[in-house]
């Protein structure tokens, strides 16, 4: 019995708002409602990383939420996929370059599917999730080894990129 095929039949979602405006969150909740009804695919919105497969993130990652985001990602058991919903989660969106935003989820955790839109429409979210399920089926349940993020650290005018902050501070201390 190919257990991997059952991942598609019962994908449980964890929804995390990384400091966004709630526009995409409302659309995700709409997916769970009667009109779009993703429960017919077996999807449940669990509030709990330990029991979910799909991490749906909205909002540009702020300084405060980045640590919690990584913590929650670490508490999810493999196999797992990450979907960044909306422009803010993908690239920082409207808030790109601001002092409190880190410029997207992929600065911190590996993302599998980017869903575009500001706010994304439920149809786009469902499409993204279905594509993620295809990726999920191919993943293993081994512990994820240390991953080099594909995306380069954000280098922009005035943007303090805290991913490399350790490299910047070390020479100041010695």
């Amino acid at each position: 019995m190919n257990l991997a095929s059952y991942r598609k039949k019962s994908p449980w979602i964890l929804h995390f708002n990384a400091g966004g405006c709630n526009g995409c969150d409302i659309e995700i909740l709409a997916c769970l409602g009667p009109k779009y009804d993703i429960e017919r695919f077996g999807m449940i919105n669990t509030g709990n990383p330990k029991q979910s497969d799909i991490l749906l993130i909205t909002g540009p990652v702020t300084k405060r939420t980045r640590e919690r985001l990584v913590e929650i990602y670490a508490q999810m058991p493999e196999p797992k996929v990450v979907i960044s919903c909306g422009a803010c989660a993908s690239t920082g969106g409207v808030f790109r370059g601001m002092y409190n935003c880190e410029g997207g989820v992929d600065q911190f955790i590996p993302v599998d599917v980017y869903v575009c839109g500001c706010g994304t429409r439920p149809e786009q979210i469902i499409d993204g999730v279905v594509q993620a399920l295809g990726i999920l089926e191919k993943k293993t349940k081994a512990l994820e080894q240390s991953v080099k993020l594909k995306k380069e650290a954000l280098q922009e005018e005035g943007q303090l990129n805290r991913r490399n902050i350790a490299d910047e501070i070390k020479p100041l201390l010695t």
Binding site: N48, K50, E67, R68, E71, I72, A74, Q75
Partner: protein, 621 residues
């Protein structure tokens, strides 16, 4: 055999006297040795007594007893004056007056004043073994107490004198002697509770004094009515012989009142709860294992006469109510010793109820509960002492990290609580037998039986909740540390707790044997009819009650063993993850939930008083 009995009575007195003056080098081995000797003596007495043994004492001893009675009451009067307590004063005056009146008007018969039967030897075993263990525990406990060296010796001496008094209480047949020894235990309780001499202790000691004196007055009143109604000698045996006589209910009711007060049933439970300020060996000895067991002892003595009377019905109603009321009150307590005190009151109510019903199986249930509750509560209280001295913990809400810093203490406490609650431990079997036999009662007296079953089963559920609440505090771990290192508490503490643990576990293994060779004979002696214990296939039959062994055995593996294994099991190859706190990294401290029963307490007390009044009324009708 008389030699063994004399040993049981006089050895504690002599040892107590020596301990008052001996230095530590002598007193330590002396205490350990006398505990052993007393236990062996109790065991030998148990083996050798099959028929009741009566013996009397010379006439001058009677006069000594009367003199000691009066002296003690004068001492109580002095306490009343010193502590300015009106209640103690009134009680003492009434007792003195009553006693003097009775001494003048009683026919001084040459009756046999002492009777030792199977029930007495049963109590001997419980008293001497448990008290011996507690005495050894006290050797270290009292050393660390903040008082003068003489006071420490006085404590040990008082402990042994108390053991002597208890041995005398359970062998007294003559009610006047019984009154003296009863009041001696009250005196001991007073001295013990007030040992620490701070304001709270003194106040609680005075409360204990007057409440127990009320019990003494009840005994005196019972003696009065026996004389007044002309039953003849004032002995238990004579009382039982007149079981069908006119007006016998009133002395029985009065003696039951004395038992109920000694057993801290509502509304007289305040003294037991207040007694928890005393040093922990006192709580273990007096207020859980030995002194309060006088209550079911009296009821068991009287059970052939009490059975099926209106007095017994009222007692059953009262104790059923107390069982559930104290279980609920226990949920409101944070102080660990108070939790134990409330659950003691609840189980005492159950024991008294079983004694009052009086059928062979219920008497077995009462005896089973008396013994196993004594052992388990003693273990829990001694553990409370260890918590107090080694971990400096008094409130259960502080026991947050105990599971990691003190795994052995947590283990013992968990076993202690589970032994009161879960199969196949004795206390569960006792409760099981109670519920099944209450059913038998309910077929005759439907309404009363139904109400009492509800109270007992409901109270049992509430008590389970209570115990799991406390075990939950003990089972809490961070999981950061996988290795278990049992803590060292010191030789005296560790040794006594190991012995008690061994007793608890041995009783599980030997329960069918104990039922056949220990409880059933005692119950037969009490009840007068034989109690048959036999095993048939996968069922154990006690009288007509069936204990299904197979579900019990499986339940044993599923429940107590599961909890113990859960505390120590380690899955080696599974990944570990942190708790979900929405991703936060804050450290939390955890407590438990409590109910406030303040608003209910007046109603409980009022209900208790109504029951007591009902007890007198049905006796008078």
């Amino acid at each position: 055999m008389n030699f063994y009995l004399t040993g049981l009575y006089f050895l504690p007195l002599i040892v107590g006297g020596i301990l008052l003056i001996a230095p530590a080098k002598i007193s330590r081995p002396l205490v350990i040795l006398s505990s052993l000797v007393l236990s062996v003596l109790a065991f030998l007495v148990f083996l050798s007594v099959n028929e009741p043994v009566y013996f009397s004492v010379p006439h001058y001893v009677s006069q000594l007893v009367a003199g000691a009675d009066i002296l003690m009451l004068v001492f109580f009067l002095w306490v009343a004056l010193q502590r300015k307590s009106l209640l103690v004063g009134i009680m003492s005056v009434v007792q003195l007056a009553g006693l003097l009146y009775l001494l003048k008007n009683m026919s001084g018969g040459e009756s046999l004043q002492f009777m030792v039967d199977k029930l007495s030897t049963f109590m001997f075993l419980l008293i001497n073994i448990i008290s011996g263990i507690i005495a050894v525990f006290t050797l270290r406990y009292i050393d660390e107490e903040d008082c003068s060296a003489f006071r420490k010796k006085f404590f040990l001496a008082l402990l042994f004198w108390f053991i002597g008094a208890m041995n005398l209480v359970v062998s007294a047949d003559n009610l006047e002697y019984f009154f003296l020894f009863f009041e001696l235990t009250t005196l001991a309780s007073f001295l013990f509770i007030g040992f620490r001499k701070d304001a709270v202790s003194i106040q609680n000691a005075v409360t204990a004094l007057w409440m127990n004196q009320l019990g003494g007055i009840a005994i005196l009143a019972a003696i009065f009515f026996i004389v007044y109604n002309g039953y003849g000698e004032i002995t238990f045996t004579n009382l039982l012989a007149h079981a069908k006589a006119e007006g016998i209910l009133l002395p029985l009711a009065l003696l039951s009142i004395a038992a109920l007060i000694k057993g801290a049933q509502l509304p007289f439970s305040k003294w037991l709860l207040g007694a928890m300020v005393a040093p922990t060996p006192v709580s273990a000895l007096l207020h859980s294992s030995t002194m309060v067991k006088i209550a079911p002892f009296i009821i068991l003595r009287l059970s052939p006469a009490l059975k099926d009377t209106p007095v017994a019905m009222v007692i059953i109603g009262l104790t059923g109510f107390v069982f559930i009321a104290s279980a609920v009150s226990a949920l409101s307590q944070d102080n660990f010793k108070r939790i134990l005190a409330h659950s003691t009151i609840a189980l005492l109510a159950l024991m008294i109820m079983m004694g009052a019903i009086g059928t062979p199986v219920t008497i077995v249930a009462a005896l089973v509960l008396v013994l196993f509750h004594g052992i388990s509560k003693c273990m829990l209280f001694l553990n409370a002492g260890v918590l107090e001295r080694v971990f400096h913990l008094k409130q259960s809400s502080d026991m947050d990290r105990l599971g990691e810093s003190g795994p052995f203490t947590s283990l013992v406490m968990t076993i202690g609580f589970m032994s009161l609650l879960l199969p196949p431990f004795g206390a569960f079997i006792g409760k099981w037998l109670s519920i099944e036999t209450l059913g038998a009662l309910a077929t005759e007296k439907k309404l009363l039986g139904a109400l009492v079953i509800v109270a007992v089963a409901g109270g049992g559920a509430v008590l389970s909740l209570l115990y799991f609440k406390v075990i939950g505090l003990l089972i809490n771990r961070t999981g950061a540390q996988d290795q278990i290192r049992f803590e060292k508490t010191g030789p005296y503490y560790a040794a006594t707790i190991y012995i008690l643990l061994g007793l608890v576990l041995a009783s599980v293994a030997g329960l069918p044997l104990l039922l056949t060779y220990y409880f059933a004979p005692v119950a037969s002696a009490v009840n007068g009819s034989a109690v048959i214990v036999m095993q048939e296939g996968w069922n154990l039959f006690v009288g007509s009650m069936r204990i299904p062994l197979l579900p019990m055995l499986i339940a044993f593996f599923l429940l107590p063993v599961t909890i113990l294994v859960a505390m120590f099991i380690r899955f080696r190859h599974t990944d570990r993850v942190k708790e979900y706190m929405c991703g936060e990294k804050i450290n939390y401290s955890f407590s438990s939930f409590y109910f406030s029963t303040d608003r209910a307490i007046p109603y409980f007390s009022a209900a208790g008083i109504l029951f007591f009044i009902a007890l007198i009324i049905v006796a008078l009708i």
